[in-house]
């Protein structure tokens, strides 16, 4: 469903140009759980932003669900982000002074879902991430783990095909991180494609495929042995 060919991204600031991605070629199928690793500055976030249609590549091809992103207008990209992709950020990015419920409703507002349906679906999503009792709390009244779970509820509420998570556990303690990972695994089991950036080996180990970046290039792309083993030998 995601097909990337010779994709490059070059940032130009004044006279200096930084090549954040260099001829990246990659294919991700529906239902995969991809962990992305690599040192700081290796281009992971840049890659995620382009996959998430938040940013456009400098050159190269990106085809999402048989559609070439290059030819889409900004508004069409907004639509893709709204109904095909869910974002989870390291810093949560919830709207301040806005209840968990309203935060989760927001993507549906843009999708023009009726107020009644919005509410019931948002409540369902919050319930699903285990926050059925925190719906009317504002972000500043929630713990980091709770905030991230609200953000996940928001990302999945429009039933996207892909969830992109850029270091979702980066700001969380081990236990909250584990809870968040459990949610992603559950989502993946339901058929949602998950792409997750992380610095932590044992987080990446929980995915089915690990892609490693260095200096804007993919240096390794392999199936996760442990996951593969678990799969072939469920006992």
């Amino acid at each position: 469903m995601i097909e990337i060919k010779n994709l490059s991204k070059i940032y130009k600031t004044g006279n200096i140009s930084v090549t954040a991605l260099k001829n990246v070629t990659l294919k991700i199928e529906k239902g995969e759980f991809v962990g992305i690793m690599g040192p700081s500055g290796s281009g992971k976030s840049t890659f995620m932003n382009i996959i998430g249609c938040l940013d456009r590549p400098t050159s190269g091809l990106y085809v999402l669900d048989d559609k070439t992103i290059e030819n889409m207008s900004d508004n069409e990209l907004a639509e893709v982000r709204n109904n095909k992709i869910g974002f989870v950020f390291q810093s949560f990015n919830l709207l301040p002074r806005t209840s968990a419920l309203k935060n989760v409703e927001l993507p549906m507002v843009y999708a023009k879902v009726s107020a009644k349906e919005r509410r019931s679906r948002a409540l369902e999503a919050l319930d699903w991430v285990g926050l059925g009792d925190r719906t009317h709390h504002n972000p500043n009244e929630l713990s980091g783990g709770q905030k991230q779970r609200v953000a996940i509820a928001r990302s999945l509420v429009n039933q996207p095909a892909i969830i992109l998570a850029d270091e979702p556990t980066g700001n969380l303690d081990t236990k909250s991180g584990e809870e968040v990972m459990e949610i992603f695994k559950k989502l993946n089991k339901d058929g949602v494609t998950i792409i997750l950036v992380t610095h932590e080996r044992d987080i990446a180990e929980q995915s089915k495929r690990i892609v490693t970046f260095r200096d804007g290039e993919i240096i390794s792309d392999e199936l996760n042995d442990r996951e593969a083993k678990l799969k072939s030998d469920p006992a």
């Binding site: 998430g52 974002f87 709207l95 843009y110």
Partner: protein
Amino acid sequence: MNFLENIRLALSSIKASKMRTFLTMLGIIIGIAAVVTISAIGNGGKYQIQKSLEQFGTNRLMVYMNWNDQKSFSSRDYLTDRDVEAIRNIKGIEAISPIYEDYSSLRILDKTIDVILIGSNSETDVINNVEMISGRFISQQDVDNHNYSIVISQKEAKELFGQQDVLGEKVTMNSYVGPVDFTIVGVYHHEDSPFGGNVNGGRGQIYVPIKTIMRLYNQTTYYGINLKIEDRNEMDAIGQQVLALLNRLHNSQDKYMTFNLEEAMETVNGVISTITMVLAMIAGIALLVGGIGIMNIMLVTVTERIREIGVKKAIGAKRQVILLQFLTESALISLVGGIVGIVLGFAFASLASALLKMPPQISIAEVLLAAGLAIFVGILFGVYPASRASKLDPIEALRYE
């Protein structure tokens, strides 16, 4: 993104910074209040002129002797009944009445009031817009028979008799030739002058048969004639005809003039309109400054919420959604400011009118116009900040610190 959702968003954002919003609003409040106050006072002035014109009598034309040329008057130049009858034959004249007016006073027992004495024929009521309450106006018979009939207003009736039901009562008029008794034949409706009670020293007008008073004072000629013209568009033409006729009858030139009060009032009206417009435009500058204040604060708001805009874009908000959100906010700020401004403006206008002794005039149309103007200013000055917000790059917005 529906409209109500936008209003809700705008309100919550306004609530988050009440003081700042209020200060921004102040510019609009002052601007709109000034515009409303000025136009209300201006309209009040025009209304007053219109009202006094109606009281004076519309379509009224006065013919009088040219006082600038007084020295050259000879006895044959004065206006006579023959002139009146000749003018009456000109087509388009609804009523005609020669002028004889004087200050005088009325008395019963020990009560005396000062009045303006108006010599009338049976048409004077048409010219002066006299509205009878009881009895009748001066009749042709009164004039022909030199009757001692008098028509007073209910104000004089109350002052002299303490009541309105005074038909058939006698009053004594203090004339130059001694006291003369008149019988009240009618009472007319008194209306307060829109300029307050100070015109003519507060004297009311009373009507007596013109022939009676002229015989009393031994007069036979007039220096003016009042006319009421059927069609106001004909006033100038008929005025010219009257002058030509009088010149021919008296074999004279430039001894007579006409005066059209309506025309004079219209000139004054025009001046008031111009002054009002100029003042309203100056007030409009205050509104402009208010609008710039809105633009300024909206730019600050956009900058403060760049991350929020980034998040919204990341989860699928299109450009116009962001645009509309900020436009709604600026329009709402200025609309609320506008409403407060209208209320304040009305209060100021009422206060000013009370001091100037005239009624403030605010029409619904003008209130709507002011509210529309406020929204317009909000949108006009909100467009730039909102469009800046809507064009933000989502990545840069998310990364903004």
